[in-house]
């Protein structure tokens, strides 16, 4: 504590405030007849939210330090159901606060392993419930909306090399291990190996068999245990689609086939991916999915994809622009950049407005200072501020001051 001059006073201050409030409020709780347990829960929630906000640095309690240590130990162990329920209880507030899957990404990638474990079983239970409750085609149709956010979540998880534990609807705990080549395997007894291998010869896209065979295996491993009793249906699901997709361009889609065992068009690939995800909900090869989607984009635009590299609308617009302006003088041709700018400027006149949004800052937070004023002085357009006892939130972080002096020109 000797070098406390440079240390951040905020965590200590917040902690002391929390302690004071909780202690003062204990009597109130007892008077109301509310259990002490609720008080502890309030304190825990309060501290957790402070930690999550990242507005305060170094905000750890002994409880949370122990909890993190215990959670890490449990994460290293394999296949324990209890850890999930416990971690779910602890981390539920985090999930409750998150309404958009996309926003979970930074939390997922930077969080300790326990968070990944918690979110997976929830997703998996949800997905497996939807996948197993319908026939193959119905499941395929029912999935699109529910799958895409999960894909994104998978994507985020795929970027992080962690031991991912999946919990099926049966209550089985599966461990997903990422191999060096990026394919993910689920440690489970293998079934349907024969089924998949029988399908393969039918595909024969041409020179791509070997990688396909090798990489279909993880899929079977993934699919089989997670289906929990519908092996035949999965065979039915995959086979016809594989046959249909035979003959399409495959060479670029070896990685796609890793996921689906199939080549070609985006829809079918997506459908298969969705089917697999419905049945398995596994997180196999998130980068593979990304690559798959990226690989299939350059294909001839026979499908409905309207975004990404396969976008042809810009070409059409450019053609139209050129046609319109070719009637004018040659100078317009030289101003291709300007033409595009002029065409784009019309709808963008709103830029004339002065109002700036939060894009100025990296964070969404509006920087706020709450304080008390001692004296506010003005001379012409020169203002002087004498403030005290303030809490500031700047760039997402919290600061405090006992006195603040400022100058500004209006």
């Amino acid at each position: 504590m000797a070098s406390s001059a440079n240390s951040n006073p905020v965590p200590k201050l917040y902690r002391s405030v929390i302690e004071d409030v909780i202690n003062e409020v204990r009597e109130l709780f007892l008077d109301e007849g509310v259990d002490e347990q609720v008080l502890m829960e309030l304190k825990t929630l309060w501290e957790n939210k402070l930690m999550q906000s990242k507005a305060v640095e170094g905000f750890h309690t002994e409880e949370q330090a122990a909890l993190q240590a215990a959670a890490q130990q449990q994460a290293q162990q394999s296949q324990q159901v209890t850890q999930q329920t416990q971690s779910q209880q602890v981390l539920l507030p985090q999930q409750q606060q998150v309404t958009n899957w996309q926003s979970t990404r930074p939390n997922v990638t930077s969080a300790p392993q326990q968070q990944v474990i918690v979110q997976d079983p929830k997703i998996l239970q949800h997905m497996s419930a939807t996948g197993m409750s319908a026939a193959a085609t119905a499941a395929t149709l029912a999935l699109p909306t529910g799958v895409s956010p999960y894909q994104q979540l998978i994507t985020s998880q795929g970027n992080v090399s962690q031991n991912v534990y999946l919990k099926t609807a049966d209550g089985q705990i599966l461990q997903v291990v990422r191999a060096a080549n990026g394919a993910q395997y689920i440690i489970q007894p293998q079934q349907q190996m024969v089924l998949q291998q029988q399908v393969l010869p039918q595909m024969q896209p041409g020179g791509v068999q070997a990688p396909v065979i090798q990489q279909v295996r993880p899929i079977t491993q993934v699919l089989t245990p997670l289906q929990g009793g519908l092996p035949q249906q999965t065979g039915v699901i995959i086979q016809p689609q594989q046959i249909v997709l035979t003959g399409n361009k495959v060479q670029q889609n070896t990685q796609v086939m890793q996921m689906a065992g199939q080549a070609g068009q985006m829809q079918q690939v997506q459908q298969v991916q969705q089917v697999q995800q419905a049945q398995g909900g596994a997180a196999p090869g998130a980068p593979q999915q990304q690559q798959a989607q990226q690989m299939t984009q350059p294909q001839p635009p026979m499908m409905l994809q309207v975004d990404g590299a396969g976008d042809t609308s810009s070409d059409e617009d450019e053609e139209e622009e050129e046609e319109e302006y070719d009637e004018d003088e040659d100078e317009d041709k030289d101003k291709d950049g300007g033409e595009d700018g002029q065409v784009e400027e019309e709808p963008l006149n709103s830029e004339d407005d002065v109002s700036d949004e939060e894009d100025q800052e990296l964070f969404d937070t509006e920087n706020v200072v709450v304080c008390q004023y001692d004296k506010i002085h003005r001379s012409k357009n020169k203002w002087k501020f004498h403030l005290k006892d303030g809490i500031m939130n700047l760039n997402g972080r919290d600061y405090v001051f006992s006195k603040a002096v400022g100058d500004a020109e209006w």
Binding site: V21, L28, K49, C371, Q372, F385, D398
Partner: protein, 105 residues
């Protein structure tokens, strides 16, 4: 009565959210908790914090209503002995700092 000014801070908002989440806490009890929080934070800021900050920038808007100053500044630098923080826009809300501590609701 202490200022309820500090309820819209990280600390205050997280407390309010936590109170909202726990259904065993009645609204009246939650209000009592918040009042206690107001007292605690006011006391803590007055007694436990001892540092000074300087800032300068350009004033965009100012408002004085009900003895509360609200400023919006642009391109501000907050300078402390240890470090410097720059923001493009900041809102400052300041209640009267006189010792009598008027009730601001």
């Amino acid at each position: 009565m202490a200022y309820q000014l500090y309820r819209n801070t990280t600390l205050g908002n997280s407390l309010q959210e936590s109170l909202d989440e726990l259904i065993q806490i009645t609204p009246q009890l939650a209000l009592q908790v918040l009042l206690q929080f107001d007292k605690a934070i006011n006391t803590a800021l007055a007694n436990r914090v001892r540092n000074r900050v300087n800032f300068k920038g350009s004033l965009n808007t100012y408002r004085f209503c009900d003895n509360v100053w609200t400023f919006v500044l642009n391109d501000v630098e907050f300078r402390e002995v240890t470090d410097l923080v720059k923001v493009d826009k900041v809102k400052i809300v300041a209640c009267d700092g006189k010792n009598t501590g008027n009730t601001a609701e």
